[in-house]
Every structure is written in structure tokens, then in C-alpha cells.
């Protein structure tokens, strides 16, 4: 069963994302911001990281950059799920090493379809 790290500072968003992923049979570990996610990633390996952008302590782009420095996260799919929709932000996401960019609000079917496409 694939394991997904779901990162968002909003408890409502974490609840909705986890509900959708668990319903599709994924195992989910939640993190409350980029820093929390990065610490969890030290002890565990994930099949996919789904992260918000705007978060305290460490944002989604910062998390992506730090994970990409680790050999074990070199090729892990990292999807951004954020309210940010500007081309500038998407370019920064691509440069940081993100796999894809999803703009909130998410459609559950579309989110799952995207995850299936990129997960190994």
C-alpha cells in the first residue's frame, strides 16, 4: 500500500486530503508544515509527497528543495497543492524539483488520477 506524506498547515485541508487519499486505499502520514514534513522524512520513506506552498517555518518550495538534496528523495514524486496559481510560482516549483502543480480547490477524482500518473 503506497505511503503518502500530506503536508498542509490547515487542519481542514489535511482532513479533506487524508479522507480522499485514505478512501482510495493510500496510507497517509500528515505533517503540519514543511519543517514537520522534513523531520518526518528523516525517519521514513514515502512513495509520494503532496504539499501546500504557504506554510510557517518552511514552505512547500523550501521543503521540495531540501528533500531533493537527499538521495532517497531524488526521484520521489512531489506534488504541490496550493492556492498559488501564477506562472512565476509554477516556474519556481519546477526549478525546486516539484513533479507537478495542482491549484486548490482540488477535485478528488482529478487529484487521485494525477497521483496514479506519477506514483511508481
Amino acid at each position: 500500500m503506497p505511503l503518502i506524506l500530506a503536508v498542509d498547515d490547515s487542519p481542514s485541508m489535511r482532513r479533506m486530503v487524508s479522507f480522499t487519499l485514505a478512501g482510495a486505499g493510500y496510507q497517509v502520514v500528515e505533517a503540519v508544515d514543511g519543517q514537520d514534513a522534513y523531520e518526518k522524512a528523516q525517519h521514513q520513506t514515502f512513495d509520494l509527497v503532496l504539499t501546500d506552498q504557504n506554510m510557517p517555518r518552511l514552505d512547500g518550495l523550501g521543503l521540495t528543495r531540501k528533500l531533493r538534496e537527499h538521495p532517497k528523495f531524488k526521484t520521489t514524486p512531489i506534488l504541490m497543492l496550493t492556492t498559488e496559481s501564477s506562472d512565476l510560482m509554477k516556474q519556481a516549483g519546477r526549478a525546486a524539483g516539484a513533479t507537478g502543480w495542482l491549484v486548490k480547490p482540488f477535485d478528488p477524482a482529478r487529484l487521485l488520477e494525477t497521483i496514479q500518473k506519477v506514483i511508481k
Binding site: 492556492t83 496559481s85 509554477k90 507537478g100 486548490k104 480547490p105
Partner: protein, 231 residues
């Protein structure tokens, strides 16, 4: 939301105290022209005017919009079944208001409502606010149209926003919700002060039409919400 369209559609709902920029009382000069010239993000309110009653530069929030500031401006809206959350950070002295209604249907409603709330909260956090010191005032959710009263759109909007804020652990320090009247709401982002006035039913149809245009689905459309891009 297209600003010109929203202004044109709401002629009858324009602020009654609106005037042209110039000198305000106390020797202050209006900054409305400057505010109008600044670039705005999709979804951000952009109807600026001088409020003669309060002697303040003001911005009106139309359905589906939000506005956040750390300046001495007045953020104003008129609510029917829509809800408005006025969120304030007492430490950063930054405040904001949004205005939205949930779309019809159960499945999408919560995700879209959460999105409307997150746009407001993210804009505040970017201005230095912190989740731990946020507090909210909630207004609106009235049953202003007779045919809305049967499905009670206002009650649904109210329940959503209060549930959302509870989940986010943002305390609601005051609220004036539900009932039968439209409301005019004014909030001051620096002090967090919010004022509400219950209005007579002067334009219930115009208000209902305006509000349906601004449900949370149209908010998402205006901001490219729901798009997916793989690199």
C-alpha cells in the same frame, strides 16, 4: 472576478456614502487614487471609494472577493445570504474580510468554502499574521429571499464558516448571523474593530442575484482553481 462586471451588476448596491477622493477630516489626504492604481490579485477586492460617513478610504468587497490590509482603510460589504469572515491578528495588526457563499450540492461545497477561507488566511499570513494570534468575527447568512428561506442557504453558509474556524482553531470573538435581514458590515484592519448594521429589505432581488454570481465556484474559476500541471 471581473471588476467592471461586478460594478455594473451592482449599481443599486453601491455604497451610499461614496464620494470622490480629496481631503478627509483631520488634515488627512485620501489615498484612493493610489489604492486604485496598485495591481490586485484575482479575487482581491478592487472597488475603492471615500466613505464620507466614516471619513475613511474604503474598499467594498463583492461576492467571491476578499481584502487584506495593515493600513488605515475601511473594508465594507453588504451581505444577504453570503457570509463574511473578518479575521484579525492582534499582534501583527493586520486584518481582512472575505465574502462568499457555498455552491449548491454537497460534494463540492466544503472544499470550495475552505478555498475561499484559505485565500483570505494566506493573504494575511503573507502580511505577517500568525495562525496562533488570529481571531474572527462572522457576519451574514441571512434568509433574505423568500425562496431561499426554504433551503436556507444562509444557514448552510453560517454553519460552514463556524465549523471551519473551529477546525482551524481560530476563535470567533463575535458574530451576527442568520435572521431575515441583509447586513452592512464594516471592519477596520488595524484595530480589528467591526461594525454591523441590519438593513431594511431595499433590494433583496439585486442582492440575491449579485451573491449567486459570487459563489465559491466562481471564486475558484477566477483564480485558476482546480488546474493541474505536470512538469
Amino acid at each position: 472576478m471581473n471588476t467592471f462586471e461586478s460594478i455594473a451588476s451592482a449599481q443599486s448596491l453601491l455604497p451610499e456614502n461614496a464620494g470622490e477622493p480629496g481631503a478627509l477630516t483631520g488634515g488627512r489626504m485620501s489615498r484612493v487614487d493610489e489604492l486604485r492604481a496598485q495591481p490586485r490579485k484575482p479575487g482581491e477586492a478592487s472597488f475603492f471609494y471615500v466613505d464620507h460617513h466614516f471619513q475613511y478610504d474604503a474598499v467594498k468587497v463583492f461576492p467571491g472577493e476578499y481584502f487584506v490590509s495593515g493600513d488605515d482603510v475601511l473594508i465594507m460589504t453588504v451581505l444577504g445570504s453570503c457570509v463574511a469572515a473578518c479575521v484579525w491578528d492582534s499582534a501583527a495588526r493586520v486584518g481582512g474580510m472575505n465574502r462568499f457563499m457555498l455552491p449548491e450540492g454537497e460534494a463540492d461545497a466544503v472544499r470550495h468554502g475552505a478555498y475561499a477561507m484559505e485565500l483570505l488566511l494566506n493573504a494575511m499570513l503573507k502580511m505577517g499574521a500568525r495562525r496562533e494570534t488570529l481571531q474572527a468575527r462572522v457576519f451574514g447568512g441571512g434568509a433574505v429571499m423568500p425562496r431561499f428561506a426554504t433551503t436556507d442557504v444562509g444557514a448552510r453558509n453560517t454553519k460552514f464558516v463556524l465549523d471551519y474556524l473551529a477546525t482551524e482553531r481560530i476563535p470567533v470573538v463575535s458574530q451576527d448571523v442568520l435572521g431575515l435581514h441583509p447586513r452592512k458590515v464594516c471592519c477596520f484592519p488595524v484595530t480589528g474593530k467591526a461594525l454591523v448594521k441590519r438593513l431594511a429589505h431595499t433590494h433583496p432581488e439585486a442582492l440575491a442575484v449579485e451573491e449567486r454570481r459570487g459563489d465559491a465556484v466562481s471564486v475558484a474559476k477566477a483564480t485558476a482553481g482546480g488546474s493541474v500541471e505536470l512538469f
